[in-house]
Amino acid sequence: MTKAAASSALPGPARPERQRQMRWLVILSAAALVLIAIGPYVLPMFMVNSLIRGFLYAAVALTVDILWGYTGILTFGQSAFFGIGAYAAGLIFTHMGFSTEHAFLALGAGILVAMAIAAIVGWLSFYHGASPLYASVVSLVLPIVVAQLLYSGGQFTGSSSGLSGFESFDVSIEAWFWITGAFLVALTAAAWIFVRSDAGRVLVAIRENEARCEYLGINVSRIKILLLVACAAIAAIAGYAFAGVQMVVAPEYAGFVFGTELIIWVALGGRGTLLGPVIGTLIIDLGTAYLSGNLPFVWKLIIGFAFVIVIVALPQGLMPILTRPFRRTQAQMDASVPVLQAVAAEPFAGLSGGGQHALDIQDVRKRFGSLKVLEGIRFRARRGELLSLVGPNGAGKTTLMRCIADGGERSSGSILINDRDIGRRTPYECVAYGVGRKFQTANVFETLTVAEALRIARTRLQRPQFTGRAETLDVPPAVVKVMQATGLDQQMATEARYLSHGQKQALELAMVLALEPSVVLLDEPTAGLTKPERALIGQILTDLTAKEGLCILLVEHDLDFVREISSRVIVLHQGQIVLDGTVAEVVNSELVRTIYAGGGTMNSAGTH
């Protein structure tokens, strides 16, 4: 792979900023470990005991933060996995006795059962088209089911009183403090590295705009399932340690109320901040330990009030308020931007498949109930064609694009991309067939930077790093050209929400081209751009078709723009193709003039 002239917003390498972040991580972790090391010597015994429990709760809260705070999956179910880990230890130690082998057996069993159940729950919750509420519903059902089964287990699970008095590890309380504390620090540090890595940014992208992720070829459901399985394993380990140190397990630890408490701790600390949920959990759990004796109901009442106030008035929780003075400056953000780099003119990955026709639409129909939006659409497009779809509002242009990018959309007919039938495949699978779709209204990731958004778009072709951020951002030359033409290359560290409307459009176009598609669907790509920008984009699009051999399907209302760049025009009217020809044919067509002048309904048959 040869690399063409590198172009970059700020040529400085991203290393110093990353080193600075790592230094902070090391300092904070070391400080935490020192505190944990001296803790048992200076803290009262009661507090040491409480903190051990707090450390383990915080580990579970961390998984809730990853799932909810970062990925946007509101889950009530992490308590179930905690309970499974705890009961794995409780059941095996009670019924089989304690030994080193049994300790490993219980740990392995707890983790495996939790992961298996998480996989089932994930498969049930996350599928293409699932509503976010449904995943929350399933996560609510899970702890209810697990807790009820534990209640009904009779002697085996100890029913409502749970299991207690089983033999456990011969480890002092001080050592438990160190083990669980170090576990929490290691887990937090690992999570900190992960969420800041390129892979971790994918989670935020899913939270911000799941649909856009799917249309960038990312299998969102699979990522969510894998994430849930991993988080279940961590929660199970915490539960196992909990049973080991407390030597008591009860159904409440697997229940739905504990699941909601985890959410409360994460929300109060600050969702999506990692440290916030950890600190929030420790403080609230300590408060509970000390105050539940004297003021049990008042303490819970205060927590309830604080929770409601935070959700209503401070959705980001308390952590961001504390860290505001330390927020990274724009200069630091700029310094952490990867170098945008054009990968020299290899053919787009989407073009490698071959095929006679880039796009083959066979008798496609789309109905909403009795309303016919598309009727018997059929046409073929070769590589190198820039085909414009024109027609008045409601003609079915956007619907047709939607049908090409999502196999589940059309009512009947078939669609072939590079001679391969897309069948009923989901959007991310259609991307693998070579489709890239730009939406009508700019559809980007509001809180991700320009560079991060482009990186997300490259996820399918370049596996993202899990431990850090790549220093270069390798994209096709056409992407660099779009970025330069619209000035986006100077704003790599800007979050998308601060971009102008036209720049958002350009960013989305760049993201779609970064997929290296063979068939590009562009729904009004130049709306909001200035005249010179529009001309540059037009030039890039014609180059892509003429030189790279892409097939572009364009919807535009600006007929001058259509005339300048199109190689062929299809006129849609009332869900049917009324004209398919060259630019000249369409421009001179009496029929098209009548349609645009609103000349009433007409019969398309026999007009061309």
Binding site: L74, L124, S131, P132, L133, Y134, S136, V137, V138, L140, V141, I144, V145, Q148, L149, Y151, S152, F256, V257, T260, I263, I264, A267, F297, V298, K300, L301, I303, G304, F305, F307, V308, I311, V312, A313, P315
Partner: protein, 277 residues
């Protein structure tokens, strides 16, 4: 015979419990997790009526008013800012449920207490002896359903509410005060929840956490019902019936899980549940 009555009375109780949640979900598209708290408020309203020595019949009206007032205060203070954040609304209303539960605990203690029933004894029905109060739940649910349908279809407020359900922006454009509709809806939903709490307490007892298990059942029933009182009725009979049958022929623990598990599976296979497309 007793089993059929069990199914019908269970469905009726579920219907009464879920109606308040459904009306809020239908109009406002938010899940009111304080519903369990409002049920508890209703239970304790009935307890207050008992302790004051008033007629047990008064507890229903009293509970409705208390719930309505609680709901209207909460709508103004908490729910209103969350219309655009439905998942956060679930959390905030769950927090409200905690607050209601703790306030009740502080006021009444956490022990289980009993409420006087307006009617007692059993009736003989086709050879089977059946609790009269439980039996009365069936007409109570039917009256509730008819009353709600009458309000929705027969009054100006009902018309405006249906307009907001169908298309809130358009309704606002036509001069309907959708904020007012939401305010009344939430208060009404809270009042109905509280009324349901008063209805179910003579069957069991009151304690500060009595609402939580009902909340979960009601929540699942509403999700499979969409925004229709008719499909809620179907869901209550089908899922409530399944619960009774599983409890009888399998075991009560599985019976307790029937509604949540079945509802989750139904929603997976058919996201609109019992509602029409």
């Amino acid at each position: 015979m007793a089993q059929i009555l069990d199914i019908l009375t269970s469905a009726a109780i579920l219907y009464a419990v879920a109606a308040g949640l459904l009306i809020i979900f239908g109009v406002m598209k938010i899940i009111n997790f304080a519903h369990g708290g409002f049920l508890t408020v209703g239970g304790y309203s009935a307890l207050v009526v008992t302790q004051m020595g008033w007629s047990p019949w008064a507890s229903f009206g009293f509970a409705f008013i208390v719930g309505f007032v609680c709901g209207s205060i909460i709508e103004r203070l908490v729910v209103r800012p969350l219309y655009a954040r439905p998942l956060d609304a679930i959390l905030a209303t769950w927090g409200l449920g905690i607050i209601l539960g703790q306030l009740i605990t502080l006021g009444f203690g956490r022990e289980v207490q009993f409420v006087q029933s307006p009617v007692s004894g059993a009736v003989d029905l086709l050879g089977a002896s059946y609790s009269l109060y439980r039996l009365l739940m069936i007409p109570a649910a039917i009256v509730l359903a008819l009353a709600l349908t009458a309000v929705l279809n027969g009054t100006k407020l009902g018309l405006q509410t249906r307009a907001v359900i169908m298309n809130e922006n358009l309704a606002r454009g036509l001069g309907i005060n959708s904020g007012m509709v939401r305010f009344i809806t939430f208060s009404l939903g809270a009042g109905l929840a509280s009324l349901a709490g008063a209805l179910i307490t003579p069957l069991s007892s009151v304690d500060p956490n009595m609402g939580v298990p009902w909340l979960v059942s009601a929540f699942m029933l509403v999700l499979v019902s969409g925004a229709s009182f008719l499909s809620l009725g179907i869901a209550c009979v089908v899922l409530g019936g399944a619960q009774v049958l599983v409890s009888t022929y399998a075991n009560p623990v599985l019976g307790g899980l029937t509604i949540v598990v079945l509802a989750a599976l139904i929603l997976r296979l058919r996201p609109q549940g019992f509602a029409r497309d």
